[in-house]
């Protein structure tokens, strides 16, 4: 199968964040960056689907400045065949603008399957994949927690609140990936060496106009410091009293 995976370069989710002086961005000093978590699951899913089918091609796409090349290279070190860098000075927070750039490029790619993360860690939006599918006029499954392909037909599972949908869809299609499909592999040394020679194409991103902009970023209010009320079962009566009289949840 010919599979495309779109990924975003995002800061490591374990980081502690500070707001930059501009107050419209985070302070990137000292942060580690990698592909966004769910896109990582998507890369793994794509590699496994093609390994199982015994062939095909896996291609990664990222919209962003030159630093996304490092992220694309990492995907190639995991086993992806080639990368396309859609160059932009910055990634707009407007997901539709990004989707337009990706759709313009993927339109002629001849892919059987185009995978995205269900949402990117930084934007936490969940827009780009589904919007790209719509712009391409392809069937789309969002937030698949299981995915398989048999011939020209895909199957997926998707969690609803308190239930799950079992879905079937014709290829070509777009799927946005939830956790559960696959955990990303670590690149091997051999993979890292091989990635250096794999092709990386760069072209300008045809972003749509950005109609959503960041006006302000702030850290959420801190929780008051935690309090240990006691040890073992002996503390239970005190806890219940606090839940009744202070928290008023009982």
């Amino acid at each position: 199968m010919k599979i495309a995976v779109c990924m975003k370069r995002t800061p490591d989710s374990e980081s502690r964040f500070k707001i930059a002086a501009s107050s419209t961005a985070i302070d990137e000093t000292g942060l580690k960056f990698d592909m966004d978590d769910f896109a990582g699951y998507a890369v793994e899913a794509a590699l496994q689907l093609n390994e199982k089918a015994g062939g095909g091609e896996t291609v990664v796409y990222a919209v962003g400045p030159d630093n996304v090349q490092e992220t694309l290279r990492k995907a190639m070190s995991m086993g992806v065949d080639r990368a396309v860098h859609l160059k932009a000075d910055a990634v707009p927070v407007d997901g539709i603008a990004v989707a337009k750039a990706l759709a313009a490029e993927l339109k002629t790619g001849g892919y059987d399957l185009i995978l995205f993360g269900k949402h990117a860690f930084d934007s936490s939006a969940g827009v780009v994949g589904t919007a790209t599918a719509e712009l391409l006029g392809l069937p789309c499954i969002t937030a698949a927690s299981q995915l398989s392909v048999d011939g020209g037909t895909g199957s997926a599972r998707r969690e609803l609140e308190g239930a799950a949908e079992i879905l079937s869809f014709p290829l070509p299609a777009v799927v946005t990936i939830d956790e559960g499909v696959a955990r990303p592999r670590y690149p091997s040394l051999k993979g890292i060496m091989a990635a250096k020679k794999k092709p990386m194409e760069t072209k300008p991103a045809q972003l749509g106009s950005a109609r959503v902009t960041i006006q302000k970023m702030e850290l959420p209010p801190e929780r008051p410091a935690g309090r240990i009320i006691g040890e073992g079962s002996a503390a239970v009566p005190e806890l219940v009293k606090l839940l009744q009289n202070e928290a008023k949840v009982l």
């Binding site: 006029g137 069937p139 879905l167 079937s168 959503v212 006691g230």
Partner: protein, 328 residues
């Protein structure tokens, strides 16, 4: 004056709580943009129209009933087409949905079809002039973004429970909205597997009792279930350590890559409090933690912590909660 269109989500023939919250958010937006009307699309299987008055109770001026056998399940393409077509022909200022499993899927579809800007998972909104401004938690709830959205219409999905549904009774006018069929290749819903009955969804529960690896074995989750029962209508959650090991289904996972929840009470049992877990529950109103390690990071966010063996404490706590609720 600008009207706002709302997607009033239904499931199994019932209007969902997120739908009423979306109506409340839409009402707020309509007021902020000059006092227009709120029109709610009530899509579901034949007969769903009977539920229309409920939307009026929460402030919908017009209920657009769209009945189709397909809408008994989540017919994503047809619902998106129906919403987009109505938004276009009705000249609305905004389309509002809940940021639920359905709304997460539909929002970007509707936005792309309308070529409209979209903001998702919104916790607050306001408007001034031609700009709508929303608050959106990003970076897995570690940063709050204020986003300015220009253009019209805009698509906005609201985080479940962020807007409290308030009654604002109206004798809503009821109209029929003809469903728009999906075009081209579509997704088929082969089956819908209903989860365990009798427990509220994690996103809707006001109390969540959640277990981690400190419970030692999957069968010990029956102690967690028992505490949830003692609280009455509580939901049961889990950490990724536990869902990875198959003790609980993935759909129970709370955290950065699982569900994000904000109940009145969150009880963390044998949970270390890894940053990715905290990302999913730190906005809970009251947090209780039981952990045998007094240095566990969960205690940094717990309003009430007990240091000790969760297996030993759970039955005692369950009995005490039961007694308290029975008024002893």
């Amino acid at each position: 004056m600008a009207n706002v269109l709302v997607f009033a989500e239904t499931r199994n023939g019932e209007i969902r709580k997120v739908a009423l919250e979306a109506v409340t958010a839409a009402r707020k937006l309509a007021d902020a943009t000059g006092g227009g009307e709120v029109h709610a699309v009530l899509a579901g299987p034949p007969g769903i129209g009977e539920k229309a008055p409920l939307l009026g109770t929460y402030g919908a001026d017009v209920v657009l009933v769209s009945e189709s056998a397909d809408f008994a399940r989540f017919a994503r393409e047809s619902l998106a087409a129906t919403m987009a077509e109505r938004a276009r022909s009705g000249g609305y200022r905004a389309v509002v949905l809940g940021f639920s499993a359905q709304g997460r899927d539909l929002g970007p579809r509707v936005a792309a079809r309308l070529d409209a800007p979209i903001a998702t998972d919104v916790i607050d909104l306001s408007a001034a002039g031609d700009t709508i401004t929303v608050k959106h938690p990003a970076y897995a709830n570690k940063v709050i973004m204020t986003l300015a959205i220009s253009g019209s219409p805009v698509v906005i999905s609201v985080r479940p429970s962020a807007f409290t549904a308030v009654q604002a009774p109206k004798a809503a006018r009821v109209d029929t909205l003809v469903p728009v069929a999906a075009q081209g290749a579509t997704v088929t819903v082969v089956d819908v597997k209903e989860g365990a009955k009798g427990r509220p969804d994690l996103g809707e529960a006001s109390i969540i009792v959640s277990g981690g690896r400190g419970l030692k074995a999957p069968e010990n989750f029956k102690l967690v279930e028992a505490l949830a029962d003692a609280f009455g209508n509580a939901a049961v959650g889990a950490t990724r350590a536990v869902t990875d090991d198959g003790w609980r289904p993935h759909s129970d996972q709370i955290g950065q890559t699982g569900r994000q929840v904000s109940p009145d009470l969150y009880v963390a049992l044998g949970i270390s409090g890894a940053i990715q877990h905290l990302a999913g529950m730190r906005t809970s109103r009251t947090i209780v933690a039981i952990n045998k390690d007094k240095e566990a990071p969960i205690f940094k966010v717990a309003d009430y912590g007990i240091v000790g063996d969760v297996i030993e404490i759970l039955p005692v706590l369950t009995a005490a909660v039961k007694a308290a609720r029975e008024g002893h």
